[in-house]
């Protein structure tokens, strides 16, 4: 006969977020513990870009769209950090959990597939937002820039982090080696970011490059952030967010779908 006292903690009435929070904390704990590798480098990189491109080379460049060059490039530098970190956090964490099999702990737990993805992506978004805030402080100290639309700034950063965390999740599930995980960064994210107008306005480009830039999704990302910080951009903020926000949430939903069907995590 079974011992009636031997039962797992009873299901609480209503929604119980304990499991979700446990995994979210674990994800955040990982990157905060490794802050020298996760939080410090993107801020240092942004600082160096500001010093090299802004302070030294920037003094040779005329104003862009009415802003000193150093201020003009700052939103792009900030969002580069967000993109790379939101992507890298979940891509690394989930890929290692998959290949070293400890994702089994999560898969055999009572968390729903939605919660599993929410915790992974939540950790990544948190890292992206943390990097954004730290870079914003450095940007304020070095360039005196403060977001013109703080609320839009937060919403935009959140959507960007969500989009690239979703991409990181997809990459971690699909990848069969570290090369695959890094391939997205080296061959897709970095080139599109540099060509998306971090360092220039597309108004400075000749045709056909100006038109071609409008097919680059990261162009809209950079311009949405630029608008939220400087109040000015190459495309309207509404159009940029109308593309970015649905894509970010669709990416998240696709990740939940992949977990639900057990894509490369269940046999």
């Amino acid at each position: 006969m079974a011992n009636p006292e031997l039962t797992t903690p009873p299901l609480r009435r209503g929604y119980d977020p304990t499991g979700l929070l446990a995994h979210y904390r674990r994800e955040c704990h990982r990157f905060f513990r490794l802050w020298r590798q996760t939080l410090f480098p993107p801020v240092l990189t942004a600082t160096l870009y500001i010093l090299v491109f802004g302070k030294s080379l920037g003094s040779q460049i005329r104003e862009v769209d009415g802003f000193p060059y150093i201020q003009y490039i700052f939103p792009g530098l900030l969002i580069m950090g967000v993109i790379n970190n939101a992507y890298a956090n979940v891509a690394t964490s989930l890929y290692v959990a998959r290949t070293e099999l400890f994702i089994q702990d999560l898969l055999t737990s009572p968390l729903s597939y939605f919660e599993m993805v929410l915790a992974y992506i939540g950790g990544s978004v948190t890292r992206g937002l943390t990097v954004a805030m730290m870079t914003a402080v450095v940007g304020f100290l070095l360039t005196g820039t403060l977001p013109a639309h703080p609320f839009l700034f937060l919403i935009t950063i959140f959507c960007v982090a969500l989009l690239f965390a979703s991409l990181g999740t997809i990459a971690a599930l699909w990848a069969t080696s570290w090369d695959n995980v890094n391939m997205f960064v080296h061959f897709i994210i970095t080139p599109l970011t540099f060509l998306g107008g971090v360092f220039y306005s597309i108004n400075m480009l000749p045709e056909p490059f100006r038109t071609a830039s409008q097919f680059n999704p990261i162009f809209y990302v950079i311009n949405a952030v630029r608008y939220s910080i400087l109040g000015k951009s190459d495309v309207s903020y509404g159009l940029a967010m109308a593309l970015l926000a649905p894509l970010a949430f669709a990416g998240f939903a696709f990740c939940v779908h992949l977990f639900r069907i057990g894509y490369r995590i269940q046999s």
């Binding site: 006969m1 079974a2 011992n3 009636p4 006292e5 031997l6 039962t7 797992t8 903690p9 299901l11 609480r12 119980d16 304990t18 499991g19 929070l21 446990a22 995994h23 904390r25 674990r26 704990h29 990982r30 290692v96 959990a97 070293e100 099999l101 400890f102 089994q104 702990d105 999560l106 898969l107 055999t108 737990s109 009572p110 968390l111 729903s112 057990g262 269940q266 046999s267």
Partner: protein, 314 residues
């Protein structure tokens, strides 16, 4: 907790890229039972456990835990189960205490309760001194203990262990056995897979023998031995035997000079009868040896091959 069997599987099938891993297995494990799945590597044991715990998707068939379908009600079902996998699956960057604490959190334990439970288990498994160290500083035996501790964090009513003593030394094996028996005595249902005959005989109240994705037979070890195989009585006589007394014809006799081998079920009960027949026939008995059958004999009898080394493994 719901009534009914702890685990009920019916016509469960799973195929991996053309390989039929499970060919319609059925079994039932009662609440509070100590049940073993005995079979060689590749027989389908881990696939069965994987389907019950959420690591493997079935192709068809039924798999219920405490009356709930394992896929439809996966969240509730997973709360009832603690799983110790065969492979070590640890986050090698986390101290082992944190690892158990997060595991408790997944199952709904508050942070303080999960931390307390982690410490309790580390103490129980003799790992307290290592609590702030990562998995890299643990020996193989310690890792095996930690795997079982991880399965017990949320005090599940059912624990499922995949080859829990694979690769451990005899001393640790016996320690783990006594721990599992203790848990079972307190009411926990235990389902384990093993390819160690001795383990299945020592621990399991009932055993299913599984081979090539099929359940070959199920019963208590004693029942299976009595039902499926014969033991051996080997009698050495004073001189060569030319013919077997007709009363021993049903004993499956074989003569080799002065040695007479008898194949019988429950040889210890039939020994007296065999000796009496020989004495009545004027035979002088020089030596008697007896070997009871074991689960290995049952396995060979039913599958035609030994449990270990079928495919060169284990």
């Amino acid at each position: 907790m719901p009534d009914g069997p702890a685990i009920e599987i019916e016509d469960l099938r799973k195929r991996y890229r053309g390989l039929e891993a499970l060919e319609g297995i059925s079994l039932r494990v009662e609440q509070g039972e100590f049940f073993g799945l005995l079979g060689p590597n590749g027989a389908g044991k881990s696939t069965t456990l994987g389907i019950l715990t959420g690591l493997v998707r079935r192709d068809s068939g039924r798999a219920d835990v405490l009356g709930l379908d394992v896929e439809k009600h996966y969240r509730t079902v997973r709360r009832y189960i603690g799983l110790a996998t065969q492979e070590f699956n640890f986050d090698r960057f986390l101290p082992i205490e944190d690892l158990l604490t997060y595991q408790g959190g997944y199952f709904g334990l508050s942070r303080s309760r999960a931390r307390g439970r982690a410490r309790e288990l580390l103490d129980l498994f003799g790992l307290t001194e290592k609590r702030r160290e990562t998995i890299r500083s643990l020996s193989g035996g310690m890792k095996r203990r930690l795997l079982i501790a991880k399965a017990l964090v949320h005090e599940p009513p059912i624990i499922i262990l995949d080859e829990p003593t694979a690769g451990v030394d005899v001393e640790l094996r016996h320690m783990l056995w006594s721990m599992l028996e203790d848990l079972n005595r307190k009411g926990t249902t235990v389902l384990l897979t093993t390819h160690y005959i001795e383990e299945a005989e020592a621990l399991c109240k009932r055993v299913s023998i599984i081979d090539h994705g099929r359940i070959v037979t199920t019963g208590s070890p004693a029942e299976l031995i009595a039902r499926e195989t014969a033991g051996t009585i080997e009698i050495t006589l004073d001189g060569p035997l030319t013919s077997v007394p007709p009363e021993l014809a049903s004993f499956g006799p074989e003569i080799d000079g002065a040695r007479l081998s008898l194949q019988v079920r429950e040889p210890s009960r039939r020994l007296g009868e065999a000796l009496a027949v020989l004495q009545r026939n004027g035979q002088l008995i020089h030596d008697v040896r007896m070997r009871e059958a074991n689960l290995e004999d049952v396995f060979i009898h039913l599958t035609g091959h030994p449990i270990e080394g079928r495919d060169g493994q284990s």
